[in-house]
């Protein structure tokens, strides 16, 4: 089945959330004029990232993380000319330049940094190719998406987007019964904790904003972050849906109601 669309309709954060929650494996391609990127996921974790602007390079990542000096970088680049990332990694570990953990962490930091740039893409085509595997000559990482998602949601500046997600501040929020993410892996900011402390079906979002001294955009941003993290859901204030007075069934007692629905079932079956 296709998983494709445009980032203007389905934001990058939402896409990551989907990959994360569904534990997807495969390649996500995103492209806009003059730029494209490929992200590989394995069981909902980021495994590899490359963009048309910059291919990942192990030695550069290690230099950026200050695991090797600029001089070592120049020497090793010459020595490891033609080596794949995997071969270079094995060489560096065996030669004592870095441990396997340090290599993995350096790549994770590098991927996460470059990957974050995609959060600013408000438009661009995307498609997910399920089952696409990491090339054997690359070093896989296993980067959790939860914090990237929360961070990305935090950075989402588009007020229009926020207004579309949370159209009214007169609604309340409550904690979901089944949070979509493992909350132990999520780091909240002090402001987010402040808002969390007021989450209660009786408090409207506007009231929480007043209590926490947040403006309309800030409160929307925090609530959006909590929504994306799967921690809260929006409800009517008081926690009870506003029912329109009137009867949902025209008959009185439960047995009659049940009989009526059974008659409907029989009729639909016979169509």
């Amino acid at each position: 089945m296709a998983l494709k669309g445009n980032l203007k309709d389905f934001s990058f954060i939402q896409l990551l959330n989907l990959v994360n929650l569904a534990n997807k494996s495969g390649a996500l391609y995103v492209e806009r004029p003059g730029e494209s990127a490929r992200v590989l996921f394995h069981n909902g974790k980021l495994e590899y990232f490359e963009s048309s602007n910059e291919k990942p390079e192990l030695l550069r990542s290690l230099k950026d993380q200050k695991l090797i000096t600029a001089y070592q970088h120049t020497l090793l680049k010459e020595r490891l000319e033609g080596f794949s990332d995997r071969e270079a990694g094995i060489y560096l570990v065996n030669a004592g330049y870095a441990t396997l953990d340090q290599v993995t962490t350096a790549l994770e930091e590098d991927y996460a940094k470059k990957f974050r740039a995609l959060f600013d893409w408000n438009e661009g085509l995307f498609r997910f190719e399920a089952g696409e595997l990491l090339p054997e000559n690359k070093i896989p990482v296993h980067l959790n998406l939860e914090n990237l998602i929360v961070e990305g949601a935090r950075e989402l500046q588009e007020i229009e987007e926020l207004k579309a997600e949370i159209p009214s501040l007169d609604m309340a929020i409550k904690f979901t019964d089944r949070p979509g993410t493992d909350i132990r892996n999520i780091c909240f900011s002090p402001t987010e904790w402040q808002v969390i402390s007021y989450v209660n079906p009786r408090n409207t979002i506007q009231q929480i904003a007043t209590a926490t001294k947040l403006d309309e955009i800030e409160i929307r941003r925090v609530v959006f972050t909590l929504l994306q993290a799967g921690l809260v859901e929006i409800i009517r204030p008081g926690g009870v849906p506003l029912a329109i007075p009137g009867k949902n069934l025209p008959v009185r007692n439960p047995e009659e109601n049940r009989s009526l629905v059974k008659r409907l079932i029989d009729r639909i079956r016979s169509i």
Partner: protein
């Protein structure tokens, strides 16, 4: 004896397939309030529902089921609340090939949930098309609770529409049983 009428509402974004859905099972020609579309941006089909679609299934001499389709375009949303009054349950129809409508579908779902606490389900229409999203991906995109049913559907096929209606009715029956069990438990606790 006076004929009883019950209604099920079919809602969802513009061009999700609501009119086709009702047309597939209604025993009368669907009473439709379609108008030619004027806005260029919305011109992916020639006409759209502006007030409601209305289909009918006669159960027996004293029971009739009405199917009401809501207008999909946002500027006609004042009709939604009127149509939802007294509904037995509702169906949110989503075009599986148009992720750009998922956000709106979620907003419509939340609106109808707030109108009345009746059972509902979500149908992923146009599942026969190449571009259709997988229903489980749609569940995540629409942020549906695992307990909410999302069913693949082809609104033009009677068998597919029947299956959706039956699932909704089974859900209504189950909710009745659950409510009764809850009530019995409360009575036991009191006594």
């Amino acid at each position: 004896m006076q004929t009883q009428t019950v209604k099920i509402v079919v809602t969802g974004p513009f061009n999700a397939g609501k009119t086709e859905f009702i047309r597939s099972v209604s025993e009368i020609d669907v009473v439709s309030t379609e108008k030619r579309i004027s806005a260029t941006a919305e011109k992916i089909k020639e006409s759209t529902t502006v007030a409601m679609d209305f289909g009918r299934i006669t159960v027996d001499n004293d029971l009739v089921l009405f199917l009401f389709g809501t207008p999909g375009q946002k500027r006609f949303d004042f009709m939604w609340e009127i149509l939802s009054e007294g509904m037995l349950g509702f169906i949110v129809m989503v075009d599986s090939t148009r992720p750009e409508t998922f956000r709106e579908a979620r907003s419509i779902l939340e609106t109808f949930k707030a109108y009345a606490p009746t059972p509902y389900l979500v149908t992923a229409n146009k599942q026969d098309l190449y571009d259709a999203w997988d229903t489980e991906d749609m569940r995540l995109a629409l942020r549906l609770d695992p307990s909410v049913k999302i069913l693949p559907c082809e609104a033009t096929k009677k068998s597919s529409v029947k299956r959706v209606l039956l699932e909704l009715l089974y859900g209504i029956l189950k909710e009745m049983d659950d409510n009764e069990a809850r009530q019995n438990n409360q009575e036991d606790e009191i006594s």
